[in-house]
């Protein structure tokens, strides 16, 4: 895959995301229109999409989207999968020739389940351990197979990304043929890291996907921290660490999502000094334990999982983020215009504060294998949070 080294001019990636809380499917055209409204925010060196709910017929299987330079790389991946997985289905990811998309890599998807050996089968099959198994497998492929990368690995979701403008990448992957209950999209303007197919956003692991505008200057620290837990960064772009941090903090360490966001974008010590207990102790503990997970530098991110969409800014808001709502639809984007392009009359539009996550989860029991990371009632931490569903009593008041 060709790697373009960016010339440093101006920066400003574009983000857009949409979720329907009742799990109703949203057509691909919708997110394409929204991200293309922010065309000026990219420079043609990367675009991508994540879609949730697109493989209902294989909802129980992990879907691996594999990007490969050549046939041999795919063969190598398939050999690993043959040993490590049950494979229920595999196919080429449909693409079409698109003007401006030059020498794309090959794309294939595999629907798999972990294949445990011997006694482990009885102990681990069908348990939460399967997620860890898949993380290890993805790391193994990305690290060891030359010319092949797993670009998404969750159930009933997938990532589509490459070098091009967002309309080109959407056309290339025929995204108008998909419908999803969560979409995120990215328009890239690489500044510090190369523009190449693997470096386009979203970055993913399991069903986590993340799109990012900004730069993570703590990349080195975060990367070394993640290596201690078996995560290997192979995609040459700072944003990759965020995907793995989310998996580590929220899925493996079981932090409520609000605290995980606080670890990524914590309050300043001077703010913590002014807090009351128990908030003060909670924030101090998070900053102390997860110092190496803190993201330094400017960022606005959108991340999604099987069950929710979250937007988050760095703690001094050096990148833009706007949120809006209409009925069961929630929107987040770099610019309000990107939301108005697909929802001209939102009920509410607001700009989240620095470090204030906007967390929107599906209603309970909406989709198979749904995940919820709110983990109970809203915490009384001082960092403000926009949370949907609201805490139980607030929701009653609304009605």
């Amino acid at each position: 895959m060709e790697i373009f080294i960016p010339n440093k001019e101006q920066a400003g990636c574009g983000l857009s995301g949409v979720i329907n809380r009742k799990g109703e499917l949203i057509k691909g055209e919708v997110i394409i229109e929204s991200i293309c409204c922010q065309m000026e925010r990219g420079n043609g060196l990367g675009a991508g999409y994540a879609a949730y709910g697109i493989y209902p017929e294989f909802a129980e299987y992990y879907c691996l989207h594999v990007m490969a330079d050549h046939k041999q790389a795919l063969k190598d991946v398939e050999e690993i999968l043959a040993h490590k997985c049950y494979l229920v289905h595999q196919e080429r990811i449909p693409t079409r020739p698109t003007p401006g998309i030059v020498s794309p890599p090959r794309f294939r998807r595999y629907f798999v389940k972990p294949r445990y050996e011997g006694e482990l089968r009885e102990i681990c099959e069908g348990t939460l351990d399967e997620d860890d198994y898949m993380v290890e497998l993805v790391m193994h492929i990305n690290k060891n197979v030359s010319g092949a990368y797993v670009i998404s690995s969750g159930r009933n979701m997938g990532a589509f990304k490459g070098v091009g403008f967002p309309d080109q990448i959407a056309n290339f992957f025929r995204l108008e043929e998909y419908s999803a209950y969560i979409w995120t999209a990215h328009n890239r303007f690489p500044t510090n890291t190369p523009g190449w197919w693997g470096g386009a956003h979203p970055f993913t692991i399991l069903d986590w996907s993340i799109v990012h505008n900004g730069e993570i200057s703590s990349y080195g620290t975060n990367r070394r921290y993640l290596e201690m837990f078996g995560y290997h960064c192979t995609l040459l772009t700072d944003t990759e660490v965020v995907a793995y941090l989310l998996d580590l903090l929220i899925r493996r360490h079981r932090l409520p999502i609000e605290l995980a966001c606080m670890a990524l974008a914590p309050p300043f010590w001077q703010e913590i000094d002014r807090m009351e207990e128990p908030d003060k102790s909670v924030c101090t503990a998070i900053r102390t334990v997860y110092g190496a997970a803190m993201l330094n530098g400017p960022f606005a991110i959108l991340f999604a999982y099987n069950g929710g969409l979250v937007g988050l800014n760095d703690r001094v808001k050096l990148r833009p983020l706007v949120a809006a709502k209409k009925g069961d639809y929630y929107y987040m984007a770099s610019e309000e215009a990107a939301i108005r392009a697909i929802c001209p009359d939102p009920e509410e539009v607001w700009c989240p504060k620095a470090g204030e996550p906007v967390i929107v989860e599906l209603e309970p029991d909406t989709i198979p294998n749904q995940r919820s990371y709110l983990r109970g009632e809203a915490l009384s931490i001082s960092a403000p949070v926009c949370r949907f569903p609201l805490a139980a009593e607030e929701e009653e008041e609304e009605e």
Partner: protein, 247 residues
Amino acid sequence: MAFEIDAKELHYRELNKLIRKAIAQGEKHLVLKNVNGQRYIAAGVSAEVDIDIYGVPGLDLGAFMRGPRIRVHGNTQDGAGNTMDDGKIIVEGMAGDVVGYAMRGGKIFVASDVGYRVGIHMKAYMDKIPVIVIGGKAGDFLGEYMAGGIIILLGMYSRYPERPIAGIFLGTGMHGGVIYVRGGVPETQLGGALQIEEVNEEDQKIIEQHLSEYSKDLNYKLEEILAEKFVKIRPKTHRPYGKLYAY
């Protein structure tokens, strides 16, 4: 008669060409319909002209402009009035981050809330004194590196009841100009080397003069706005950072 331009599906380059052409033809009042995210509207325009915008204008609305009076019938995005020299921008809704960045003249009136770093590096010279009036609340770093000009923060017409009137780091690096805040602001929100003081008669006159224009433009009740006292925030000394780089 107003000259109407339908901005639907227009790229910002085409839209700005149409605006400049209309002005060159002597039009005095432009109405832009279906604007959505087009950047740099009226940027660098040097003319006496009224521009009404329906929809959400994109980044850097009115950047570098000298003279136009722009009224946005809704919200506007980041960077409105970037380095503007003269004229006026009235926003009937919210405005984004870095409004009035390095502004050197003219006025920006926002009906509701503004984002982060509003009025960053405003400056004034002789009789060129830029003014920003904010009806709602402001994010962090209001008036950061401010060197001159006037910011008036009301905190009255906000969609964020839970937020403080101004975010933290207010006036960080400020060494000129003045920020007036209606009803006061906790000292914890302020950057260093600033002082909060009561307004004197002269301040009150300046405040009333700008707010009377503001309330007329946005259809607010002046008495209601003036019912509360204002405080004044300014640098403690003429050169608060004079010793920072000296040893």
